[in-house]
Subunit: 225 residues, 2 copies
């Protein structure tokens, strides 16, 4: 029982509708700005301006800055995890035991779909995850919000490579995750590297298929035998 285990303050009344809207507006603004500039790149005042509220309200609804960051990341984590796990379960229900590609598909496609077609907030959240994933400082958040789901997928892959060490399967999955995040956060880089040539712009599904091809081939080649 450390000092951090303080009991949450007891509420005596339900929060008003307006208050909930304000809170949501603040969290949305924080999500957008944190996604854009990371934790240090967004200030509480920037967030307040973006949410169109006085600065003190950000502290009131979000707590201290680190707590706000934590709240913003955690807010959609469960929904995203459910998307991931639902994809896994419904794929199993539809096609029986899953092969490697199907497992990768269940991880990559829901994320890219939400990032591209889930609205501006999910687009921001997808970028935010990249920040959390890149900075060791947020490892506790990662462990709490994402690692459990990732562990499910890794566990799903282990029996498919009976001769491979778990460490390597996890490594290949980390490679896949980083490639996935790079696709969501820096497609501009890819398009730029291909030159200004007017090649037809690819859609989401095309890139998703391409990425899944890449990861599947990577898994097979790196864990063969």
């Amino acid at each position: 029982m450390t000092e951090t285990d303080i009991a949450p303050p007891r509420r005596k009344r339900a929060p008003s509708k307006r208050s909930l809207e304000t809170r949501a507006r603040i969290l949305d603004a924080a999500e957008r700005l944190f996604a854009q500039g990371g934790f240090d790149g967004a200030s509480m005042r920037d967030i307040a301006v973006a949410a169109d509220v006085p600065v003190a309200l950000v502290n009131f609804h979000g707590g201290a800055k680190e707590a706000l960051f934590d709240t913003v990341v955690a807010r959609r984590a469960e929904t995203l995890a459910r998307h991931w796990l639902d994809a896994l379960e419904s794929a199993k229900a539809d096609h029986g035991p899953l092969d490697l590609r199907a497992v990768l598909d269940c991880f990559i496609r829901p994320y890219l779909n939400l990032a591209a077609t889930g609205g501006a907030q999910w687009t921001a959240y997808a970028r935010l995850i990249a920040h959390v994933s890149a900075d060791e400082r947020w490892r506790p958040i990662s462990e709490r919000c994402f690692d459990p789901t990732v562990a499910v997928f890794v566990a799903e892959l282990i029996p498919k490579f009976p001769k491979a060490e778990t460490r390597r399967i996890a490594g290949a999955f980390v490679f896949s995750i980083s490639a996935m995040l790079s696709l969501a956060t820096s497609r501009w880089r890819i398009e730029a590297m291909a030159g200004d040539s007017g090649e037809a712009t690819s859609g989401l599904d095309e890139w998703a298929d391409f990425l899944i091809d890449f990861c599947e081939g990577g898994f097979r080649a790196a864990l063969a035998g």
Copy 2:
């Protein structure tokens, strides 16, 4: 001829040896702290303390903060590029025309080698590159310092996939780069995901081979046909 094209101030005397040492100490400290916390995560005062100099000296030797960041990134860029291109040329000289794996090897291994065995400063620099690569804000630096070399490698790969669009080859290379950076910056994540099991820790070369296997397989699978 814009206002930014100001002529560099003419020197009338050679810089002293002590001054060069101080400058190097400052750039080294900035490199370490920028690598750790990114541009916004490191303050000029932190850098000054780490370099054991007064704050004003950081400005004197490094200029404004953005210029300092730029200088730090550019400082080792040429050396790294030469490592990359030398690997390419000497591999060609030794084995004639290179296959896919050899090209990937020439890109991945020099980077990982420098990151792991090039000393603390190169380890920091390897992490710094990940920051530059992840933040669109530093795209000009990327374009100037790294994109030319990357373009050489992509050009080397194009004839190996005559039926593939350049955009896709570039995409697969970006996937490979992000996986490579993730290996240099977050091996802790991989080791953590594999569980606390006491599996023997892998060395650099083992992980490098593994990553190259992964990328080669990814390229072949994604660009097949």
